[in-house]
């Protein structure tokens, strides 16, 4: 690899450079001390090519190629007032905050002083400003930042220097750059390694940190059994589709888009935004719903949070209470359902004495889940729409009473910080209910309203203080 060849060349050239450094800086010498000697030989590396030959005694303003807007900075430095490195970034920040402007600030700094005075403070300021400029996940920017360090000055030259933490501030600064890379999960590359060797040498703290990153990151890169792509889909319908398939964990589950988001203008001129409604149901769930006893109600519960990296989406669930044991009928497997292999085997597979692979824990039966949906607006009207959409494929929903157990809306969830936060919960046992709106909309579903309400209240053991929204 080109990089490793660079390393070998560096090692051989360092012996030459040691001889070179003993020469005092002559007036005519163009500050070449701080240019890596091997720059001419390592043509492929970015870092080497950006070094600018500067005359030792000439003023910075004479340098070609500096844009005019930084002239005011030169005036400032001539004022000899204290200017923090943050100000450099803040000045540029008044324009666009992009990678290009960030790189420009670094260039201004590196070309400003051949000795790179205050480079540690500059690098710390740059690390702090990276998220504002949006470059915190960019490896090239980190390499460019590491390039700010003068090369070969901090490399320990004998065993005493190696023992005694040579240039500790700079080493700590290098470690902090790598730590920010580690925080954002960015894997360094060979260029980082070459830079670290040039700047600090081998067997120093930044190099050890680099080795640790290179050891542990590959080990933990694929440790997530449910990986999430770096870039989640922007479109809410696509995002809902992705997250529903993720939760459903069933290849046969089918995603249906019941409504696409659109903005309608009604006759009165008011804008009505229709939210998207995306639902998912698998054939197994459809069968289970078809076999569901119409006397027992089903519940629409939600919203429940689902986090994917830094985005949180909310989903709603259609489920029923578990059937009491006396009503459970175990249907025998229909042998004609699958002709390639028998679904039920009556073999006496006695395991070894004491071989028990199951836990002695009572099985939690929380009731079947029939369908899930995601929508941006989680009020009863939208969920009613979802249920009516579901009814097209599950006609039994017309006879089953549907109760809505909706919790606090997503917007209220962000502001959890008051004293009541302890009482809030996502699950219906302690949830605040929406008030019932009887007869708010005429639904296509036909139901016996009062009889159903009585049955529901008798059947469902809930505390009387809770109000139930009954679909009419």
């Amino acid at each position: 690899m080109k990089g490793s060849r660079c390393l070998h060349q560096l090692k051989s050239l360092r012996l030459l450079s040691h001889a070179g450094r003993l020469l005092p800086p002559a007036a005519g010498d163009n500050g070449a001390l701080f240019r890596p000697r091997s720059s001419s030989q390592l043509g492929g590396l970015q870092c080497a090519q950006r070094e600018v030959l500067r005359h030792f005694h000439s003023s910075p303003a004479c340098t070609k190629g500096q844009p005019a807007r930084f002239v005011q900075e030169e005036d400032k430095t001539r004022d000899k007032s204290l200017v923090t490195h943050d100000d450099l970034f803040e000045q540029v920040a008044k324009e666009a905050k992009t990678k290009a402007t960030f790189n420009k600030v670094i260039d201004v700094y590196t070309k400003g002083d051949i000795r790179r005075r205050g480079h540690v403070e500059f690098i710390y300021a740059a690390l702090k400003k990276m998220p504002e400029f949006g470059v915190e996940k960019d490896l090239t920017v980190y390499n460019k930042l590491l390039d700010v360090f003068p090369k070969e000055v901090f490399v320990p030259r004998n065993f005493i220097q190696r023992m005694f933490n040579h240039y500790p501030r700079q080493q700590e600064c290098g470690v902090q750059v790598l730590e920010q890379m580690e925080n954002y999960g960015i894997m360094p590359n060979i260029e980082t390694k070459v830079l670290l060797v040039q700047i600090f040498g081998e067997k120093t703290h930044p190099m050890r940190k680099y080795q640790r990153i290179m050891y542990w990151f590959p080990k933990f890169k694929h440790v997530n059994p449910f990986p999430i792509p770096e870039q989640l889909p922007e479109d809410p319908v696509d995002l809902a589709r992705f997250s529903l398939t993720r939760m459903a964990n069933d290849w046969d589950a089918k995603v249906t888009v019941y409504q696409l988001p659109c903005t309608d203008v009604t006759e009165s001129g008011a804008e009505v935004t229709l939210p998207h409604i995306v639902g998912i149901q698998s054939p197994g769930q459809m069968e289970a719903l078809a076999k569901h006893n119409p006397d027992r109600p089903v519940f629409v519960e939600g919203p429940f949070p689902l986090w994917m990296r830094k985005t949180c989406v909310y989903y709603y669930v259609l489920r029923a209470d578990p059937t009491p044991p006396e009503e459970k009928i175990e249907e025998p497997y229909d042998p004609e359902r699958c002709l390639s292999y028998p679904l039920q085997l009556d073999l006496d597979l006695d395991r070894d004495l004491g071989d028990d692979e199951s836990f002695d824990v009572e099985d939690l039966d929380e009731g079947p889940v029939f369908a899930m949906c995601m929508t941006s607006q989680g009020d009863q009207a939208t969920l009613n729409q979802w249920i009516s959409g579901l009814q097209e494929s599950n006609p039994i929903l017309g006879q089953i009473p549907t109760l809505f157990r909706l919790g606090a809306g997503p917007r209220e969830l962000q502001g959890v910080g008051d004293a009541d936060s302890a009482s809030r919960s996502w699950f219906p046992s302690h949830v605040q209910r929406e008030e019932a709106h009887p007869g708010e909309e005429a639904e296509a579903v036909v139901e016996e309203a009062e009889a159903v309400v009585e049955e529901a209240e008798a059947v469902v053991e809930e505390e009387p203080r809770r109000s139930q929204g009954v679909k009419q």
């Binding site: 081998e202 542990w216 933990f220 939760m247 689902l306 836990f359």
Partner: protein, 304 residues
């Protein structure tokens, strides 16, 4: 990777030669490495005064509580004596030897919540919250709250935003430390229902030296989210050694004969509400798993 980012604690591996604190401009991250004590004591929150409480003032003289305490401890003592006649750890020896699964923590009532300690970065001045209660039907434990990664303004802490639930150290009679003995098992089996956030499981074992007090063996717990329960099986060979949130170079497998506590930590830098529901935590013996340790042994001076 998102390990616990408590870097306000002294990173002892670095820069022991720094003794001067440079007064840098406030916009720059200050690098104060405090003097390390010879014995690492309790964590002292930065800015808190050292409260000098006389040892006799710490004892609480309360008659009814004292009576309860005596009753509790003597019951435990009696149980310990009689258990020895039944078998090791109170189980018949056949059961102890052939045991393949053991549900160590099951949340079947409010008293099971008393075995756990919940904390968040509120202790160091942060703004996260974490609460623990019983889940639906009193059958599960429900850990919920909000994460906030704004670091506390004490000048030292740089990252924040974590919450954790840790089991209490099992105690024998008279508050003597007891340990979990999981030497005949090799896998941790959990039944959880999360919201898609990545958690970290921390196992803390009994150590000898005081410097090893914060040695924790960690592994990731990735939840899928959704309404379905998730069975998670993690072999103990996958747990790596960390100290105060930093992964160590010298790795070795967790010694299962004296396990003190298990804990769950969330620190994934995503601000917002979180929830985790746990049905049970058990250990089992997976005969198909023959790996002893997933990470390589330490080489003292690895070449670059």
């Amino acid at each position: 990777m998102s390990l616990l980012r408590i870097t306000h604690l002294p990173s002892g591996r670095l820069l022991s030669a720094i003794l001067h604190h440079q007064r840098l401009l406030p916009s720059i991250i200050p690098l104060t490495v405090p003097k390390r004590a010879v014995i690492q004591g309790e964590y002292k929150r930065p800015g808190q005064p050292r409260k000098a409480k006389f040892p006799w003032k710490k004892i609480n003289f309360n008659f009814s509580k004292g009576l309860e305490g005596i009753k509790k401890h003597f019951t435990l003592l009696k149980k310990e004596f009689t258990d020895r006649w039944v078998g090791p750890e109170g189980k018949p020896i056949v059961e102890h030897m052939l045991e393949q699964n053991r549900a160590v923590w099951e949340f079947r009532g409010p008293e099971s919540l008393g075995e756990w300690t919940v904390s968040s970065d509120r202790e160091i001045g942060g703004h996260s919250e974490a609460y623990l209660k019983l889940g639906r039907n009193n059958n599960t434990c429900f850990l919920y709250g909000t994460l906030s990664s704004t670091p506390p303004r004490d000048g030292e802490t740089r990252y924040s935003g974590y919450c954790t639930m840790r089991s209490k150290q099992p105690l024998a009679s008279f508050d003597r430390k007891k340990h979990h003995d999981w030497s005949s098992f090799n896998t941790l089996h959990l039944r959880v229902r999360g919201d898609g956030r990545p958690w970290m499981i921390n196992i803390s074992a009994e150590t000898y030296f005081s410097h090893q007090k914060d040695d924790i063996y960690c592994y990731f717990l990735y939840t899928r989210g959704g309404p379905y329960w998730q069975d998670v099986k993690i072999p103990f060979s996958k747990f790596f050694l960390t100290h105060r949130g930093r992964i160590q170079d010298d790795q070795h497998p967790v010694w299962l004969d004296k396990v003190n506590t298990i804990g769950f930590t969330l620190g994934d830098k995503a601000d917002g509400p979180f929830q985790l529901e746990i049905d049970f935590i058990g250990v089992c013996k997976d005969y198909a798993h023959t790996e002893e340790f997933a990470y390589e042994a330490y080489k003292r001076n690895p070449e670059v």
